[in-house]
């Protein structure tokens, strides 16, 4: 009984901490009596989620990431609930609207959607990015009791506000509470849509917006996973909501709140750096532009500053490795021009399907709606058909309000949507549809507002609107149901955890073998990103384009260097496929084969694996492949240096403040860093090898 109560209490504590922290912040900012009811609670919970992440991050940076301290922090933040505004208060209220049969239907749809999400959350995590870093990093931080910096682009050196909330949930309740927290915090995006929409339309329209967001495939896909985009959507939507109110009331406190919320998105993902100036521009085009601008900037820096400061502190580049060649890197950060080129090449070939030009930007909405999968991931995890189906009604709404539309506060939202869309499409790194998820709620509110105006102007368009929303919801709900079948087999069908993971995670059998056979003193090198979460903490994940500490690029073939880099990282075992002799003698598998040929490595196990094409539906799997576990034999290897190998230091810092920074850098932080990233090879460890 206690076992089941404790995790639920953990989840409740995390939720209360988020809400309490946000309520306290709204009170301290003096903005708690500005929002209508639902908007108040949503904004508080969203801001509070960020506050929880920032607090956990600070504790982790200080080396105090323990369950006891995190629980204490959550209790303190929860106490903020006493600052909640009185329920009976004269507040700005939204237009009253009657409860109708549609209200009941839409609330039922929301409940059904929640059910699907909860089923997905009760299954073990299986989404690729989530296993590679969203959940793997928090697990590693908790094990270390502190932050661990990986100078790995894209999924190592990243802003971490959301990951720190996962760490809190994992610490207080375990994996299941972490997935439940990831799921339930995603719902804030739907609440944000409802809150914002409610200011411009009646309840049923706003509920329809929440339903459409909750059931859109791109959100379903991220529902119980650690992907940051959906919670990012909540940050962006509430930020724009606050910015609109800041403009309307000329209230600089709200500008600070808008900055804080936008900063939280930047603290979740580098993409947020593109949103920040856009919402800032919304605020400064007015009379008291300086006051609004400076408070907005302060809020944003408060939220995002610690995370970018941490990345800079460790690497020398606050947006690692985007500024390579522009700023000097810390000693020991082995990023190079070769890796920058490999990373750019990877993005161009695997993340972009069409040229980043204005004509393609204009064609993109058609492509993601009417074209099969491609590189956009738009078919299975896209935005559905709603936008195009609603288009004539939206145009009618624009026509109906053509004389007053220029005064609409929603122009701020449209500006952010259009600005981010073109900025990301033309200059962003990837064209996958989910990268646009943070602005989708704003777009949804604008579309629904226009539809509602069309409906008000011409009541005979009512049935069209109902059919558009109904068809889109029916379609999306059916996808949600199909998506829920897979986790339901585990949750309701009595499937074991290992069986579920075998069906859903490529090469999971390798993780089982490794966990059963390697010990705490072993360190495994691998390139299977989907296994990071399920492998021992001290395994080393090398990415062929993003991880410079062990060079496994497609073009890499220097086995001696490979050997030395593994020695620096303390690698004892390697997980690799056999090299296919039909392809060029380069790359990770080739170098692993060469180690075997040279007598430096011995195969100790083989595991069969499949490339799964989908977790949800039955698609033909890729060709089966074999993974070999190799034991590195340093005693007999001709590549072994007689002198200990050390990494050549990177360029020294030339910042004017670098001397001061060096003094401030504590030696114990340095030791902790070395302990977790530069495992040193010792003779005693070698004696432990079989």
């Amino acid at each position: 009984m206690i076992d089941s109560i404790t995790p639920i209490a953990g989840l409740a504590l995390v939720a209360f901490a988020s809400y309490g922290g946000g309520v306290a912040m709204l009170r301290l900012l003096g903005t708690d009596r500005i929002f209508a009811s639902v908007a108040y609670h949503t904004t508080a919970a969203t801001a509070g989620m960020g506050i929880l992440g920032i607090c956990a991050f600070g504790l982790a940076w200080a080396g105090h990431l323990t369950p006891q301290i995190l629980a204490g922090t959550c209790l303190v933040l929860s106490a903020g609930i006493v600052l909640k505004r009185p329920a009976r208060l004269s507040l700005p209220s939204v237009e009253t609207s009657p409860y109708t049969v549609w209200t009941t239907i839409l609330c039922t749809i929301i409940a059904v959607a929640f059910g699907g999400y909860i089923i997905a959350a009760l299954a073990p995590p299986a989404e690729g990015d989530t296993l590679a870093y969203h959940f793997a990093l928090p697990r590693e931080f908790l094990d270390a009791g502190t932050l661990v910096f990986h100078p790995r682009a894209v999924d190592g050196a990243i802003p971490l506000v959301q990951h720190m909330t996962y760490a809190v949930a994992l610490s207080l309740g375990g994996e299941r509470i972490m997935t439940l927290w990831a799921t339930s915090s995603n719902w804030l995006a739907a609440a944000a849509v409802f809150s914002m929409a409610r200011a411009y339309m009646q309840r049923d329209w706003a509920l329809a917006g929440a339903c459409l967001l909750l059931t859109v495939p791109a959100v379903i896909y991220s529902g119980s996973a650690g992907n940051v985009e959906v919670r990012g959507a909540a940050f962006v939507t509430t930020s724009v909501l606050a910015a609109i109110e800041a403009r309307r009331q000329d209230n600089v406190r709200l500008s600070a709140l808008a900055g804080f919320l936008a900063g939280l998105f930047a603290a979740s993902k580098y993409t947020g750096l593109m949103i920040l100036p856009l919402i800032g521009l919304v605020l400064i085009f007015r009379r008291r532009w300086f006051a609004h601008g400076i408070t907005y900037a302060c809020g944003a820096i408060l939220a995002a500053g610690p995370f970018y400061g941490w990345i800079w502190w460790n690497s020398g580049d606050p947006i690692f490795p985007m500024l390579f060649g522009i700023v000097d890197y810390r000693p020991g950060i082995p990023w190079s021009a070769d890796f920058s080129a490999a990373m750019s090449s990877m993005f161009e070939t695997t993340e972009k399907a069409v040229p980043s030009t204005v004509p393609w930007a204009l064609a993109y909405p058609f492509l993601i709606t009417f074209q099969d999968e491609g590189l956009f991931q738009s078919a299975r995890v896209g935005f559905g058909p709603f936008g195009f189906m609603a288009l004539p009604l939206v145009l009618a709404g624009l026509w109906a309000t053509r004389r007053t539309i220029w005064k609409s506060p929603l122009w701020a939202a449209i500006f952010v949507v259009v600005g981010f869309y073109f900025t990301w499409f033309l200059f962003g790194a990837a064209q996958r549809i989910r990268h646009y998820l943070p602005i989708y709620p704003l777009l949804l509110v604008c579309l629904l507002a226009a539809m509602a105006r069309a409906h008000d102007a011409w009541p005979w368009l009512r049935k069209h609107g109902i059919v558009v929303v109904g068809l889109a919801l029916a379609f999306q709900l059916s996808i949600h149901a199909v998506f829920a079948i897979n986790p339901a087999r585990y949750v309701l069908g009595g499937e074991t955890r290992d069986d579920f993971l075998r069906r859903n995670v490529n090469a999971y059998d390798a993780a089982i073998w490794i966990n059963n056979n390697l010990g705490p003193n072993d360190r495994l090198l691998h390139i299977e990103r989907q296994l990071v979460y399920y492998l021992p903490i001290h395994s080393f994940y090398a990415h062929g384009s993003l991880e410079p500490r062990v060079d496994t690029r497609l073009a890499a073939r220097d086995v001696g260097r490979f050997w030395d880099e593994m020695a620096i990282e303390g690698i004892t075992h390697v997980l690799a496929q056999p090299h296919d002799s039909r392809i060029s003698p380069v790359g990770y598998a080739y170098m692993a084969d060469r180690l075997v040929a040279l007598g430096c490595a011995h195969e100790i196990a083989r595991v069969n694996a499949l490339t799964l094409s989908s977790r949800t539906i039955v698609l033909p799997a890729g060709p089966p492949y074999v993974l070999r576990v190799l034991y590195l034999d340093r005693g007999r290897c001709p590549l072994e240096s007689s002198t200990p190998v050390k990494r050549e230091p990177a360029k020294t810092l030339n910042y004017p403040w670098s001397a001061l920074a060096a003094i401030m850098r504590k030696e114990d932080d340095r030791i902790r860093y070395l302990k977790h990233t530069a495992f040193t090879w010792t003779t005693s460890q070698r004696d432990l090898r079989r």
Partner: protein, 60 residues
């Protein structure tokens, strides 16, 4: 009946025009929906396979 904002002229043509607009909207909505579903046609068989497997599992 039309509102002052309406692009549809008042009078006996109004009903005809609104009917025409209505039909055009229906055509657009239908085409957009069918077009999107058609784009996903390659997933129809896997989804049907999944559902049939599910039904077989539920009904011994």
């Amino acid at each position: 009946m039309t509102t002052p904002n309406s692009p549809v002229p008042a009078g006996k043509d109004a009903a005809t025009l609104s009917r025409t607009v209505s039909v055009l909207v229906w055509i657009w909505v239908g085409a957009a929906f069918v077009g999107h579903v058609w784009a996903l046609r390659s997933y129809a068989r896997p989804v049907l396979d999944l559902l049939s497997a599910l039904i077989r599992g539920l009904i011994p």
